[in-house]
Symmetry: C2
Subunit: 585 residues, 2 copies
């Protein structure tokens, strides 16, 4: 790295993602920093920090020079660069190469419906789109709808050569970077330059693009790290030999997709911590177990669904997973039964919960025990660790009533979670109306409902309005309802989530049939397959698992579907619902 002077740094030292990127290169240039296992072929790719850094520099040089990507200024984002990519070393390179030159990274959530993907690309006006080989079919399916916006597609693959494609403006990633210089002088950016653009899944209406600056992401990172330093270890964990600080020697597996709100911060935290980063492309239970065993993975963030899949995996005992001691569960609640079952199966596992959302970057609440609780026994600390948790360092969280007053800490009264944090998004990209709805009276309104106990621990009581969390994904109920209502035979339709041991929640549709028509539960699914899945409006996994044909759908006084009452009377509806998952295929 060159010795460069920045006279302006004496008075305005900026908080930048390049600072994060440079640290492991300086500390451990010749140590393996990034390991990627191709989930299809099982092939491994290993990079020292210096090798990885040179690739980032080449990427940045290519973007800035050959591809003429422009940097932003405070209040004026640079060019938007999109990714349709899994968790690979290339995606990690894009995280730093794109932002390091002052452009905006837009990691596309490839699990959105194709229509929503099109919407986000057009809304962001993504100039260049980087795509994984495995995601080419998805891109080709929507290409006609974005080709007037996207000037260039960059194809990323472990195999050389371009595929047969009807996309005309396409080049290879490896070829692009191979012809660039390895040396680079990173620009002296302002810390308020936009770095990322992350769209919400858009449960109601269109996706909204939360924006994050370098300063915000740097502060997110350093606060997550500092929070780890003040974590308290229960006496029973120390007795079990699990109290030792991991330090830079931790080996995180970046399991959360990098297209899900910064992969829960890990692409920043792990790099700044100079830890060996393990990438698996996408989750498969076998690939996960192999990587943990081979690379001695110590830490991972997962959704409850993955924990359930591990529990069900028949070959689990064939792997040595004993290196894995920190398992954070996000994206939904951590069921106590699941935590206990999995920790019984793998004695070194320690699972804890957390809470965050796209707009909060996402990390703001984590379940950790107070120092006054270290003497509690395992059953008691488990009961604490399955709560959503406490605000992490630097975050203000309140649970408030309709008047904005904090609810009593009685572990019963619910209110809305409101948040302030140095890394909460300040605004949605090009959407002043929704930004104004998000921020009211200086608080970011999450739309999530929670209760608070006497010790201040927050527990999510209900989802944003009525969204269904199925696995890592949100099922946008209004979209489903609107689709079902389009069927001739449908009078009214509503969709709610019902608890499911594997997925957390699964969608149940209540449908009343128009007089004079006849329809079965299967008819609803058949209609959704034709008019939803095949048209790209929804994906197959969004299909309701249960359907009840009924004339008795509860309503509120203003005529809206009363989902709270449905949930309150759930047994009654479950008794008449029919399992239609066999019809999905």
């Amino acid at each position: 790295m060159t010795f460069r002077t920045y006279p302006e740094f004496s008075t305005h030292y900026p908080l930048l993602l390049t600072t994060i990127m440079k640290r492991p290169v300086r500390m451990y240039p010749d140590q393996i920093g990034v390991v990627y296992r191709n989930p299809a072929s099982g092939a491994y790719f290993r990079f020292t920090w210096m090798q990885w850094y040179r690739r980032v520099a080449q990427l940045a040089n290519g973007l800035r020079g050959e591809l003429e990507v422009h940097a932003g200024k405070p209040g004026a984002p640079g060019d938007r660069i999109a990714t349709m990519a899994l968790n690979t070393h290339r995606h990690l390179e894009l995280y730093y190469g794109v932002t390091g030159i002052g452009a905006t990274l837009h990691p596309i959530n490839v699990r959105l419906s194709p229509q929503h993907i099109v919407y986000t690309i057009r809304h962001a006006r993504d100039r260049i789109l980087f795509v994984d080989d495995t995601l080419m079919p998805l891109l080709e399916g929507i290409y006609d709808q974005v080709k007037d916006v996207v000037e260039l597609v960059v194809y990323m693959s472990d195999k050389p050569g371009l595929p047969q494609t009807r996309i005309p403006n396409i080049i290879e990633y490896e070829t692009l970077i191979a012809r660039q210089a390895e040396a680079i002088e990173w620009p002296a950016l302002h810390e308020d330059v936009n770095a990322t653009l992350c769209y919400t899944t858009g449960t109601t209406g269109q996706p909204k693009g939360a924006t994050f600056t370098h300063r915000q992401l740097y502060l997110l990172t350093i606060h997550i790290m500092a929070q780890l330093a003040i974590g308290n270890t229960p006496d029973h964990d120390i007795a079990d030999g699990l109290g030792v600080r991991l330090g830079e020697g931790a080996v995180p597996l970046l399991n959360t997709p990098m297209f899900h709100i910064h992969g829960w911060g890990q692409p920043f935290v792990a790099v700044y911590s100079a830890q060996k980063i393990v990438l698996h492309g996408t989750f498969t239970v076998q690939g996960f177990c192999e990587l943990v065993e081979r690379e001695k993975v110590t830490s991972v963030g997962i959704v409850a669904t993955i924990a359930a899949m591990l529990l069900e995996y028949p070959d689990l005992k064939q792997y040595d997973l004993s290196s894995l001691v920190r398992v954070s569960v996000g994206g939904g609640a951590l069921p106590l039964g699941l935590k206990r079952k999995l920790e019984a199966l793998i004695p070194t596992f320690r699972m804890s919960s957390g809470y965050g959302m796209t707009e909060t970057a996402p990390t703001i609440v984590g379940s950790f025990i107070k120092k006054t609780m270290v003497h509690l026994d395992r059953e008691e600390t488990d009961a604490v660790l399955v709560k959503s948790g406490l605000p992490i360092l630097g975050v203000e969280v309140e649970v408030v009533d309709d008047e904005g007053r904090p609810v009593p800490q009685d572990d019963h009264t619910v209110g809305e979670i409101v948040v302030r944090a140095p890394w909460a998004t300040e605004q949605y990209f090009g959407n002043p109306e929704k930004s104004a709805e998000l921020w009211q009276d200086g608080w970011l309104h999450t739309g999530d409902i929670a209760k608070v106990d006497a010790e201040g621990y927050i527990t999510i009581a209900d989802r944003m309005k009525d969204v269904i969390r199925s696995g890592a994904e949100m099922v946008p109920t209004v979209l489903l309802e609107n689709l079902i209502a389009m069927a001739d035979f449908v009078h009214e339709a509503t969709v709610v989530g019902v608890p499911d041991p594997v997925w957390g929640e699964k969608p149940m549709a209540l449908v009343s049939v128009r007089t004079g028509f006849e329809a079965t539960e299967e008819s609803v699914i058949d209609f959704l397959k034709v008019h939803g899945v095949e048209t790209g409006k929804i994906t197959r996994w969004m299909l309701p698992k249960l359907v009840a044909i009924t004339r008795d759908i509860p309503k509120t006084s203003v005529g809206k579907y009363n989902k709270k009452q449905i949930r309150d009377d759930l047994d009654r509806f479950l008794a008449i619902a029919k399992d239609v998952s066999h019809r999905h295929g």
Copy 2:
């Protein structure tokens, strides 16, 4: 704490010291947060976090209301409030009460010469001065020279009532705060408002006042904490049961005076970490040992001189000091010999080094082992931990030659340390000339000389002004001092240059012998020949030409060897020094 809306926070969320202060109050309102032991009476004072916070709020209300203290704006500091105080709960209250309302805290270094203290008060134009009872004689001695600047003196004591004094405008701290409201709405400050003003000890010329904003001190704090999270633990420490993370359960003794450059950051780090804070007023070896034993202190920062005092303390073995596992040594080099001797005496001790200066707030470099070194044996990790260390997170450090180019990492070539960090002072208060000298080409020039090894570890070789120029060569005095300190018989040792008609300067060593040991001037040279020359650590021409055995080595106010005073009183030391050049051969 009240639920207050700050509409402006949605777009300009500030980094403020009030965020640090509020955390332990929210987390542990009813736990003991601050313990103070009066060093004269031995009496203990204990405060829960809520009690302490209410006192801070009362202080702030008194300052803002009754005393009409004005807040600052970016670029325009608020009123300066001075302290002449030891490490008490009241001083910690002033750290947050003064800064929380936007005023500037000026902690006066009471170990400066009275002339320099007068200079700093007049230069800062301190409106109000808070003084400890024990420091009243010092204040009274200079009062006539500052009375036109200082409008009010606030007297702080554990005993009620004002003393007999000729100072007319004086009120009691406890009376002032007792009549204030306990509730407060902290102002929504800009993060670039000045928070502290810390004068250098001014070994040459007048003291210079380094300024620090809320943002800078917040970033200092969060980076120190994050650095702790990624610390690596040697295998031999884990085997010794010393690898467990301390978390919020750590109990820091704030040993470094709070009037010394933010007490090395501990008044911020310990509060934000919600750890129980132990205050001793001022260091006495007996008070130190009593507090460690009674309060189960885990962590402390000390200067090498204090380590030497512990080593000499005859009653040391009467105390249980086994809770103390983290000992950071700053304010000068950590001699390997001293580390080994003290760790042999107290088996749980683990001492490490560091480097910083007033202008860097001060923490920027710390000695910690790399993750690639955890398997090293104790002797090998000791050799790493006595180096000044590596830059901590967020800090850029280079050691450069006269042209500003990094010196080779050969652990031999010396250069000047230059620094950039988000918390390095941007300017001296009211001193644009010295500010311009400090910052050149975007780097803060420390005036310290160091070498760098192949792994990037920096070792301080000398102050630029203390280095001995002997013939064409430079003799790094700190290197010699550390070598001499390794001898069993050595208690303390320092080396200065004295004029020489042939060589320009020649090295003279002042050595104090450990109680119970006997040694001559020749023993020092013999030791250096065996452990320095023969091991290749120094060359023969670096050997001191003169050695004086003496118990009277001058120290500065911060416990460093006072080389300026040695040079000023040179004749006295030359009179007792013995020419040992005959022993070199």
